[in-house]
Amino acid sequence: MTAQAPAKRVRTAVTAPRPVHKARRKVKPARVLLHVFLSVTALVWLIPLLWAVYTSLRPYEETASRGFLTFPKAITGENYVNAWQQAEFPHYFWNSILITVPAVLLTLFFAAGIAFFVTRFSFRFNLALLMLFTAGNLLPPQALITPLFQLYLKLPLPAWMSDSGLFYNSAWGVIAIHVAFQCGFCTFVLSNYMRTIPHEITEAALVDGAPVWRQFFQIILPLCRPAFAALATLESIWIYNDFFWALVLFQTGSKRPITSAIANLSGEFFTNPNLVAAGALMTAIPTLILYFLLQKQFVAGLTLGSSKG
């Protein structure tokens, strides 16, 4: 149990060759069949995506006159240029960054703090604390939204933080709900991870007279780097991908991050399917880049929390 999290990570990350299977064998028909099945499945899974890409790359005039299921005469990026300019994409991307970056950093910091407390100091309530956070994370957002919406309409924020003077319609409010929600998952993962760090390490620091804050910042946090990398990747994608909170908790569309803004934009600016496709795909590009660059981290983060036990 103790050394589980890192061990699992390694095994998930590396597709460990199993010596027994590795021995060269003759190509069996079953294997061929399996490859056919998997390629067909992979292709079927890609079709909706590829269709959107294909639609986005063709000029509207051509598809309007010749139909969509035709061989293209022209392939063009103009839909992307138009979507980028007409719908003010840079503005919405910036909104997304303003929400995602602070939310991820705060979530990881707070979650690390709770995990540190729960794993290093054996207080009576640590299990209850962990369960509270994890259970909160699993609740459907819609089960809280009615009172939360009222709360946001009544909770004041200083004017320099929010021009509405309220949590409602302010990036701070949306960051706060992300932090509150995502802390649960990250605490769960990080406490599993910190449990694998031997107590002797912090005890030695204690003997040297290091105060608690130094144990936390200089010993525990650096040791958790792999878990942070995985969680940061995963949480960035999740928070960037959030649709619901930003849709409900912002009144004005112009403050919304890109993921929830496209719902409005599709009616206002994207008057044809080619533009909708380009706009929607552009929204997905940051997450796709992050995923392809940090695929191992993403999958490790997703399975870290769940593959224990």
């Binding site: 299977h21 969509f68 540190f116 459907p140 957002p141 809280l144 939204i145 009172p147 649709f243």
Partner: protein, 314 residues
Amino acid sequence: MTSTTKAAGRPVRRRKMRRLTGRDKLVLGLLVGIPLVIHLALVWFPALASVFLSFTNWDGIGLNTIHGAGLSQYEQAFTNDPSFWPAVTNNVLWLVFLLALPTPFGIFLAYQLDKNIRFSRFYQTAIFLPMVISLAVVGFIWQIFYQPDYGLLNSLLGTNNPNGTYLDWLGDPKLNLGAVLVAAGWRHTAYIMILYLAGLKSFDPSLREAAAIDGANERQTFFRITFPSLRPVNVIILVVTVLEGLRAFDLVYVMGGNTGSKQGLELLSILITNNIVGESGKVGYGSALAVILLIVSLVVIIPYLVQNFRKEQR
């Protein structure tokens, strides 16, 4: 191993507690206190407030206008609201569908991909892509796919003729739930596949080989050896699937045309959101719907966590 270190470690930690200085206690208090306050105020307080407000008919304007209304909000939902029962039915259908098709298929794919085959990485990446993209974008992608006049599906089927067969996949109340479920299943399969794949990696392959030597065929090996021994992963998958079924919102919102409400696509989550975003200000009624959602979720979450953490304590 854990129990021995714990037993030996307990007195040591007791001593350490006494050695904490006032400043140490302050640091720890802040490290836990700040997130705890945020979490309680923004997650559990609203959850409990939902329960309280569901017995009132508050309009949301002033706190002094909260008046008790007994069970009338629930009565309203059960007997008066024409979209309540369709929403419950659709939520149940959503759940049953996820459990019946995408979940087993995801497990099946994971099992095949775990066979140490070539190109496994490529297959995984392709199938997993829907999980990386936001549900809103998934909604748009499928909207383009289903678009009645020029979408791929109708173009291939030839069902885009306004004078002949014309299938409006997302508009027709008889078709739209099925169409959205396909999109939901597309994504859910990917999720289950990756979760199960991680579980399989921790599974001792020698067990499988032993079964093969004993003459068990693949099916027997899976159902009698692999599947039962992955019980923790199976439980997680079940919980994830149920919660996905209850949380479903984004896809329906986008594919239903960004209005949030379309005949045939009613869901509890959508009804709740309509109640707060609209000007009707029916806080009490929205809360009553939320409580129903909350109860069903907690019925799944609590046993799962209790079982999970009890194991941890040992």
